[in-house]
Symmetry: C2
Subunit: 192 residues, 2 copies
DNA sequence: TTGGTCATGCGTACACCGTACACTAATGAG
DNA sequence: CTCATTAGTGTACGGTGTACGCATGACCAA
């Protein structure tokens, strides 16, 4: 389908030129079409960006789905590390997944607890499991999941805004914070 | 000075039209100048944006400097709340302060611990104080400060990306996470 | 006063952007 | 074959950042 070809072209342009360099004209050229042809398949540029967001989210879901750790806490640690890898190794795809504004239609409802997102649902299941195992205290599962997500997104956002001196410092602080966070969820008295 | 007039115009345009609507031509018109006149005072648009970032940061520093709470933990709670207010009440200024990429020249050095930013330095002083008071456990001060910042930035970033169903949900989760975070820093056994 | 230097602002022009509009070429059903 | 639907195109418009060269005026030395 032509639409897929356009999407592939868009992903290629995004990869090589970033969001700044992602233009209708460039995508069209890459797809071997005239610029206006894209409008047969996407209402406008925003809709194309939205498709890229979807693609980025799918990539992330696949990564999360591939985490193999058995122990729920280890699983959450692996999740956190995978997130860091994703952000650094595929920055544009990552940004598409996490920073692009969602159109009204696909926003989480107020109970996004329910886990409209498979990745969040998976994480919440592991958190519940850790609580059942007695590895975590009894804090609200949604709160923990969202906090973990915010943590990661915050670090990456600060990194994107060039608030860290170096990637090395960024990674070190990211890992330290993640470790401390998971640590803080252990039952009282067990910390450190 | 003309430069100040341009900056004021830019701030006004930013406030009323956001970053999307911030164009050289609009700023020039607002300042009563021709578009090209701006280039006598700013190398290019990026440099103008950088000046806006500086302005946003100053606004934030002023807010932080104005927090009056005596108790260090209360002070940190007030900080967190002020951050939320700032993000919601002055979104563009907030974004200028926290999301605009810093030019290489003004990046934090690797020991940004040292607190190139007055706000971070203030926060770290309060954290040290809380530790001295026995209100916090002995985690690394820098780690706590950066984690707190990442927390806030992450929530706001997710909000900007429209990942929350509503402002109400956003605020509720933000506050819950902040509360849980500060709580987790208390000495073992005292949590909840 | 004259002349020169420098800072300031302006007008024009260019390349690039998203996309509205009107068009043609291809496809497939009856 | 006819005709409606779809896919793709070319042109054009209003917007963007900004390079370039010129005009103006303030200042100061001769």
């Amino acid at each position: 389908m032509t639409k897929d070809r356009i999407l592939s072209a868009a992903k290629a342009v995004l990869e090589s030129a970033g969001f700044e360099g992602l233009t209708i004209r460039k995508v069209a050229q890459r797809a071997g079409l005239s610029p206006m042809a894209l409008y047969r398949h996407f209402k406008n540029k925003d809709e194309l960006l939205n498709a890229l967001m979807q693609d980025g989210i799918s990539a992330w879901e696949a990564i999360v789905g591939g985490i193999r750790a058995r122990d729920p806490v280890k699983w959450l640690e692996a999740l956190s590390e995978a997130y860091l890898d994703f952000a650094l190794a595929q920055p544009h795809k990552f940004d598409a997944a996490f920073f692009l504004p969602a159109p009204a239609a696909r926003r989480f409802p107020d109970d996004f607890a329910a886990g409209r997102s498979p990745a969040i649902a998976l994480a919440m299941a592991r958190i519940d499991q850790a609580k059942a195992d007695g590895q975590f205290r009894d804090e609200p599962t949604l709160g923990i999941a969202v906090a973990l997500a915010a943590y990661g997104q915050g670090f990456v956002s600060m990194h994107r805004a060039k608030r860290f001196g170096s990637d090395k410092q960024f990674k070190a602080l990211y890992r330290a914070a993640q470790h401390q966070f998971l640590d803080s969820l252990k039952p009282s008295g067990k910390s450190k």
